[in-house]
């Protein structure tokens, strides 16, 4: 079996296990939390509700929530394996109709943030490494280290105040146009930029002193060519891993930014669903995020494997 096939097989098994575990975990949340899941559902429909016991019982009966927990879970799993995510307990509409658009928003948000972070961090990291210990390096390093410490919930209101209120350049919230994405993406990409820049700087510094770079220089290649062909590609391998991990994290972890900027993304959808005890919605959302995360990390690992093979071939002088 080839390493690639082996990886794909392992990941497929991992995906199954991850879906199973995450869906069980989400399923259990309302039942291990204090409070009554059915009253939570009714409250989502009617503010601070005061539903009487008969209503609570009737609603539970209608949703099948009086069944044993294991049966409720297996019912959901059976439907899910047949491609049916079920109906939301709150709205009664198909879960898939809500989670897919939300996933689209989050993919756009996280994808844009990661793409910008990668591009910016490559530029900053390379400059920083090439000017190591000089003013530009120190400036970049100071800024990136400072940005790591500023969380999104602090940066987002600042960005809104400056760019939406003071300068009136950008919308403060919502998803009415491409401009609406600028602030949330900018806020989301700052911390990845910091981490990625540090990784790129360190990778470039390490590669600059490696044997194959010395060999390239010895062959008389000019510095720009050495940098573009031999240094940067090799320095970016750690970045690809980080990119995958950060992207997967942002898929479900951009809830604060989604709330502040009123974006109907996956983080917010899953958070609300868990608060409301809307199990099918929460499970559908989490499982979809887990699947995307596993997919992304698998692609990253594949890139890694292929890069390693090509690097080995290159070092051994085949190419």
């Amino acid at each position: 079996m080839t390493p690639v096939l082996s990886l794909l097989l392992r990941r497929a098994l991992g995906l199954g296990a991850a879906v199973l575990l995450s869906s069980i975990a989400v399923f259990l949340v309302p039942f291990v939390s204090p409070g009554d899941p059915v009253r939570n559902l009714l409250r989502a429909r009617m503010d601070l509700g005061t539903a009487d016991d008969a209503t609570v019982a009737a609603y539970a009966e209608q949703l099948g929530l009086n069944e044993p927990l294991w049966k409720q879970y297996l019912d959901w799993l059976g439907r899910f394996l047949h491609g049916d995510m079920g109906l939301s307990y709150v709205s009664g509409t198909p879960v898939v109709d809500r989670v897919l658009p939300a996933l689209g928003v989050t993919l756009l948000l996280a994808g844009s943030a990661i793409l910008i972070a990668v591009l910016v961090s490559i530029v900053l990291g390379v400059i920083s490494a090439l000017r190591a210990e000089k003013l530009s390096d120190r400036t970049i390093t100071s800024i990136t280290h400072a940005l790591i410490a500023i969380p999104e919930y602090a940066m987002a209101p600042l960005a809104v105040l400056l760019f939406a209120v003071r300068l009136a350049w950008l919308p403060s919230a919502g998803l009415s146009s491409a401009a609406s994405l600028v602030l949330p993406v900018a806020v989301l990409c700052l911390r990845p930029i910091s981490f990625f820049t540090i990784a790129v700087r360190s990778g470039v510094l390490e590669t600059l002193g490696s044997e194959h770079v010395l060999a390239a220089r010895a062959r008389g290649l000019n510095e720009a060519r050495v940098l573009l062909r031999h240094v940067i590609p090799h320095s970016l391998l750690p970045l690809s891993t980080m990119t995958g991990v950060w992207f997967a994290g942002l898929l479900g972890g951009s809830v604060i930014v989604e709330v502040i900027f009123a974006l109907p993304g996956m983080g917010r959808l899953v958070y609300d669903a868990i608060v409301d005890s809307d199990l099918p919605m929460a499970q559908g959302g989490v499982v979809l995020v887990v699947m995307c995360a596993v997919l992304v990390t698998t692609v990253v690992d594949l890139i890694h494997q292929l890069s390693d093979r090509s690097a080995n071939l290159e070092v051994s002088g085949v190419s």
Binding site: P34, T50, D97, R131, L135, A164, P171, S172, A173, V259
Partner: protein
């Protein structure tokens, strides 16, 4: 030397951030713009597939789509005609509503007694029924003739016209009731027709050219669902929204200083309350409850924590309500007298009492700390814990708590406090968290529920409220203000503290 590259990079980033900037420009002119569209930031998002028995009905009402048989006029403080022009109590347990003639739904079908009957029966059959309109309050709805709807109640209910003003009693055309749920698009009678929805984001409406109520001034609008208060405040400040509902206290100072925004304020029917568990020690002793009332300076709490978004409460009702307590004053603070009351009551404690502050209202943590400090001064040790309402509700319903900081809407879907007075304070009340039971009070509320004369009914409410205040059942802390931010170019906006009406035919925007 190396800086130019860095500068370019920084400039590039800024340019990227600033791309697609949309500069806000405004021309002030007094003339109404008949082509204007208005943006309303609503604090509530529809989550129940437009089920009319749910709070989604509020969104449809705010958007100028959904209408009801009657309407509560906040200024006149009375029920006035809407889709029904008149109504009468034809027998002890029946009311007959005469429908307005010539009204058509936006899909062209006529509003008649059968369509109204079907609409109301649909809500009554819901598994989780609405609070104001449910089988406990309405036993049957039938069409008497083409233009008359008869509504029967399980017992005599003089407040039925109020219930018919509840958004949950909204009427849509028969085509709106599909097997997949409610489809309000093109099926309302209101001044605006919903034309598109971005799930979880907004609802877009267009002017209803054939509105029964006359010309509609706006061409249309967009209702945005923005649950974060500060975001709503920012949007009305930047001009992205024309009206932002329910401005949080933390944003008031900023908006008050902005000449382009006006703040509409009214007493909301919500009172933040320190619930005392009357069913167990130490608050089963009226002297201890009175001591807590005397110890707290509710006006100071309103000024400090609520920053002007609330006023000190005078009792269970707001002073502006027609059933407010006579000559009601904010209870005087007297720590010394409170201390003596605690001492004379024989109060002892072997562990601190617990104040539960619900997390749904962020300010309650601060209020709890102030109360804790005041209680300490009169010899009552306490701790403050913050919990979500959902997590603590079963404990509250069982009466297993000492003190609770929560808030309550007195006018639960109808512009009348009867539901609140019954559910919260009668011996058999379904939401009697305080565990209060006083036959004299129950008698007053029963009499009020059956009283046909509005003035006499309000007087009975007043007496019941006075009894609650005299018995110091709870400490009513602050009457919250309903505060909406409105851009100065908006005209014809009438604030509804019950958050039912925003997009009306008279709402307009000047050029």
């Amino acid at each position: 030397m190396k800086h130019p590259r860095l500068k370019s990079l920084a400039a590039l980033t800024l340019v990227a951030l600033g791309l697609s900037s949309c500069a806000a420009g405004g021309n002030d002119a007094p003339a109404v713009d008949s082509e204007a569209r208005l943006v309303v930031d609503n604090f509530r998002a529809p989550v129940s597939n437009w089920a009319l028995e749910s709070d989604d009905a509020y969104v449809l009402s705010i958007s100028g789509c959904l209408e009801t048989l009657t309407r509560y006029d906040q200024k006149a403080q009375e029920v006035v005609p809407m889709l029904a022009t008149e109504w009468k109590q034809s027998a002890e347990k029946t009311w007959d509503f005469t429908l307005r003639e010539g009204v058509t739904f936006q899909d062209g079908s006529a509003l008649d007694a059968q369509s109204v009957t079907d609409a109301l029966n649909h809500v009554l059959k819901a598994t989780a029924p609405a609070r104001a309109v449910n089988p406990k309050t309405i036993s049957a709805v039938e069409a008497l003739d083409e233009n008359t709807v008869r509504v029967s109640t399980p017992s005599a209910d003089p407040l039925l016209p109020y219930r018919m003003a509840s958004v949950n009693a909204g009427v849509l055309s028969p085509a709106a009731y599909t097997k997949d749920g409610i489809d309000p698009f093109g099926h309302c009678t209101g001044p605006f027709t919903p034309v598109s929805e971005q799930a979880g984001q907004s609802l877009t409406v267009d002017r209803n050219e054939d509105y029964w109520g006359g010309d509609v001034k706006l061409a249309g609008g967009e209702i945005r669902f923005i649950t974060e208060g500060p975001t709503r405040a920012t949007q009305v400040q930047t001009g992205e929204a024309d009206i932002s509902m329910s401005i949080p206290a933390t944003s008031l100072a900023t908006l008050e200083a902005d000449p382009a925004v006006e703040l509409a304020k009214a007493d909301s029917p919500r009172t933040s309350t320190l619930y005392l568990n009357n069913s167990r020690a130490p608050f089963d002793n009226v002297d201890v409850r009175r001591a807590v009332t005397k110890a707290l300076d509710v006006s100071a709490i309103a000024d400090s924590v609520y920053e002007g978004a609330a006023t000190g409460a005078t009792g269970p009702f707001a002073p502006s309500e027609p059933w407010a307590l006579a000559d009601a004053q904010v209870p005087a603070t007297d720590v010394e007298a409170a201390k003596k009351l605690v001492e004379s009551s024989g109060f002892t404690q072997d562990k601190p009492l617990e104040i539960i502050a619900i997390t749904e209202r962020a300010e309650f943590a601060a209020v709890g700390t102030i109360i804790q400090e005041r209680l300490k001064q009169i010899g009552i040790e306490s701790t403050v814990v913050t919990k979500s309402y959902g997590a603590v509700e079963p404990q509250l319903l069982k009466g297993d708590y000492d003190m609770l900081l929560s808030q309550r809407n007195r006018m639960i879907d109808i512009a009348n406090p009867i539901g609140f007075l019954q559910a919260d304070y009668t011996c058999e009340g379904s939401y009697n968290l305080s565990g209060y039971c006083n036959p004299e009070y129950d008698k007053l509320v029963s009499a009020a529920a059956a009283e046909k004369d509005e003035k006499a009914r309000n007087d009975l409410y007043r007496q019941a409220g006075q009894l609650l205040a005299d018995d110091a059942v709870n400490v009513w802390l602050v009457n919250e203000q309903a505060i909406d931010g409105v851009r100065t170019e908006v005209s014809g906006y009438v604030q509804d503290p019950l958050t039912r009406y925003v997009m009306t035919k008279d709402l307009a925007k000047t050029k």
